[in-house]
Amino acid sequence: MIQFERFTLANGLRVIFHQDLSTPMAVMNIMYDVGARDEDPGQTGFAHLFEHLMFGGSVNVPSYDEPLQMAGGENNAYTTNDLTNYYIQLPADNLETAFWLESDRMLSLAFDEKSLETQRKVVCEEFKEHYLTKPYGDVWHKMRELAYKKHPYRWMTIGKELSHIENAKLDDVKNFFFKHYRPVNAVMVVAGNITLEKVKTLAEKWFGDIAAGSEYKRNLPQEPEQKEERKLEIKANVPLDALYKCWHMPGRLDRRYYIIDLLTDILSGGGSSRLYQSLVKEKQLFSNIECHHFGSTDNGLVVIEGKLVKGIKMEEAEKAVEEELEKMKGQLVSETELQKVKNKTESMIAFEDMSVMSRANSLAYYEILGDASWMNFELEKYGSVTTEDILQESRAIFRNTNCNTIHYLSTTN
């Protein structure tokens, strides 16, 4: 059970305090309720580019990184399709440095032309490094476009194309900031070897006078139910054929999410999982195969992806995958098999909760989802899943008309 306290500043900033006296460190985690799904379709990649700009200096503090390093701290950030998160770890004695730095950039960025110019280039290199130069690097761009027709999950956080990033203007940056980076759209977690009193005082002192801003009301186009099976063939200079299949699944707040999470663990996620045992070890059709899901807040995707053993025909490999899914739809998994993936989940949570940084991140995440205390009920929710649930959900998800398939074929043969 993770203990915490919650309070809200007059400007709407939600603050969560979590004490851990066993560490000499403190953590500040600020999560903004904005991700790539909130972008304009003509300006994709913006939430992520913006994350880079957050390190380009703020209105009163020209350099963000230097004073933090001077205080013995480290920081980083990430952007997903759903949210943007900034985190700092530093010696607890120097906690106020984190308040100073984070509050100033929530107050206002410096909006420096040179910083924008540089970070545009940096992000373009990141785009190239991760998506253009890697074999199969474009597959998730293509898959998102295939599976989503309306919902903004149809592009990746890095952006739909390089030109969207290259064309970003300083005015766009300002508008984005004042729309999304307001206290009312953020959750701040302060954790570690500190007291509630100190956090309250510092929060009031540094964040209290920041204008609330207007609440961002998310109103995204919902993805209509898929009615037909979708397929795409890609031919590229890659060494091996690969199969990618995705099915729509419910969002993070649906009870079915927990069932599907366990279901994907039964299929893959260890040397005794079904797909690995059957398709890699027994039939030797794939050199590797995985099943996972996107973990998205809105309706997400279940994924099965694998690379075929050289010489195996795509049709044969795909048929074998479908046979495994038919088994999931045809008969109950055993109680032992279900218990196995529940046990795995239990220990995964215990290992995650070891680090104060990870606890702070989870508290912020659940608060953005709706309530930080949900973090303490996850295990219970997984625990309540039955073998009958797994059967029903397999039938609901693994339907052809819910399925998107990419055959990624090697041209080097």
Partner: protein, 424 residues
């Protein structure tokens, strides 16, 4: 209203009194050394079995790595599936890894399950059969994975720079080729397994919330293994003669992988810890000179880093980055410019204090939790160092002078001593 132009007071991290939590050391009946750190809030454990059967000991490429990989793939009593099912049923993670000097089995589990898991770990150490069929699947899949990796310029660059530094025959320089996988046979693996696992030397590292009877459990399951010391052979590196290499891996590549590296002695050398500070300045963290210049000022790359290899016998000092093909040469020029600057100019006190504080803060954060503490100890023990190394490192960070750093730069950051490699 706070004065936002004014940074809050800080405690300089250099003033912290950092202590490494002691490790408890004892021996099993057969002399196997156990190092234990009992700490942590969660009821979890990490156990690591370290064998001295790394790449260094093998006579033929990939024998050590393959033997290590197949440890989980079958005993005379259990199939690979049954072994995996057992560990996974208890929500535990059993991993194996092969390094240059050592090869390991690592178990992460909830403390309450350790009793069910240790007997099977013993079975893997004493009774693995390394089945032919498992070997065949492994060869096939690893060759395929290699094919994919060879398409990546960073992968190719990583292999090539190690060949420059150590030579293709040295454990630190050799790399896997498809024909090496083809040449593997089960008999060799079984021999290697006998020599380095069944009968080899073992050291155990355990950390987390340790159950009271852990010592007797470890003795019960591992206290009767032969634990014989293995002979370690000397292998001399054969460095490349060509200093500048340009390789085209993909004619349509949009990025080049740059690796600039020089040989460097190991942790026992008196300059090693001092150079860690110089390395931080050069490219060891986000505020470093290389990152500030090449990423934050010029935008040539998503990241640029420099670091010292953690090899036991012979280290190397490396600068590594991926940049647009049009700016490869410009990047290399800037890297050498930064080295020259460190040779010629004294670092100012403010920048030096920043690096000191950053490094101290890093160590403080890094000592957080039992797994981090045991990993520090493991590093000390496997490199044949003592606790003093930890305190020397802190002393060096706190006291090294700008003048000393310049002298070290003059000694080690000479352009002509570096191998320079670009793979597109």
């Amino acid at each position: 209203m706070p004065d936002r132009k004014q940074a809050p007071e800080i405690v300089d991290a250099v003033d912290f009194d950092l202590r490494l939590k002691p490790v408890e050391k004892y021996s099993l009946d057969n002399g196997v050394e156990v190092y234990a750190v009992n700490a942590g809030a969660e009821e979890v454990l990490s156990l690591e079995w370290v064998f001295f059967g790394g790449n260094w000991q093998e006579e033929q490429n990939l024998v050590a790595a393959t033997t290590n990989f197949l440890l989980r793939n079958g005993t005379s009593q259990k199939t690979a599936f049954q072994i995996n099912e057992h560990f996974e049923y208890y929500g535990s993670y059993l991993n194996r890894a092969c390094y240059n000097e050592t090869a390991t089995l690592t178990l992460h589990c909830l403390t309450k399950h350790v009793k069910e898991l240790l007997p099977v770990v013993r079975e893997l150490i004493t009774d693995s059969v390394l089945p032919q069929e498992e070997l065949d699947i492994y060869k096939q899949n690893m060759k395929q994975r290699l094919q994919v990796n060879l398409k990546k310029s960073d992968f190719v660059a990583g292999r090539m720079i190690d060949v420059c530094l150590y030579g293709e025959k040295h454990p630190y320089g050799k790399f896997s080729k498809a024909e090496d996988f083809d040449a593997l046979n089960q008999e060799q693996l079984v021999d290697f397994y006998k020599q380095y696992y069944q009968q080899g030397k073992l050291i155990l590292f355990v950390a987390g919330r340790l159950p009271a009877d852990l010592n007797s459990l470890l003795n019960q399951y591992f206290g009767d293994l032969p634990n014989r010391s293995n002979f370690t052979k000397t292998i001399i590196e054969e460095r490349g003669t060509e200093k500048k290499l340009r390789i085209t891996n993909d004619i349509n590549g949009v990025q080049g992988s740059i690796r600039i590296a020089r040989p460097f002695p190991n942790r026992h050398h008196p300059d090693f810890l001092k150079v860690q500070v110089l390395n931080s300045l050069l490219g060891g963290f986000f505020g470093s000179r290389l990152m500030s210049n090449i990423r934050e000022d010029k935008g040539y790359t998503y990241g640029i880093h420099s670091y010292l290899y953690s090899h036991v016998q012979q280290s190397a000092w490396l600068v590594s980055t991926e940049v647009g093909t049009d700016v490869c040469d410009a990047t290399i020029t800037e890297i050498y410019k930064e080295m020259k600057d460190l040779r010629e100019e004294l670092v100012d006190e403010e920048e030096l204090l920043l690096v000191r504080n950053y490094m101290m803060g890093g160590i403080l954060g890094d000592l957080d939790g039992p797994f981090q503490i045991i990993s520090r100890w493991k590093n000390i023990i496997l490199n044949d160092l003592t606790e003093k190394y930890f305190y020397d490192a802190i002393h060096t960070i706190k006291t090294i002078s700008a003048e000393e750093l310049r002298q070290l730069a003059q000694k080690y950051l000479q352009e002509e001593d570096f191998y320079e490699l670009v793979v597109v």
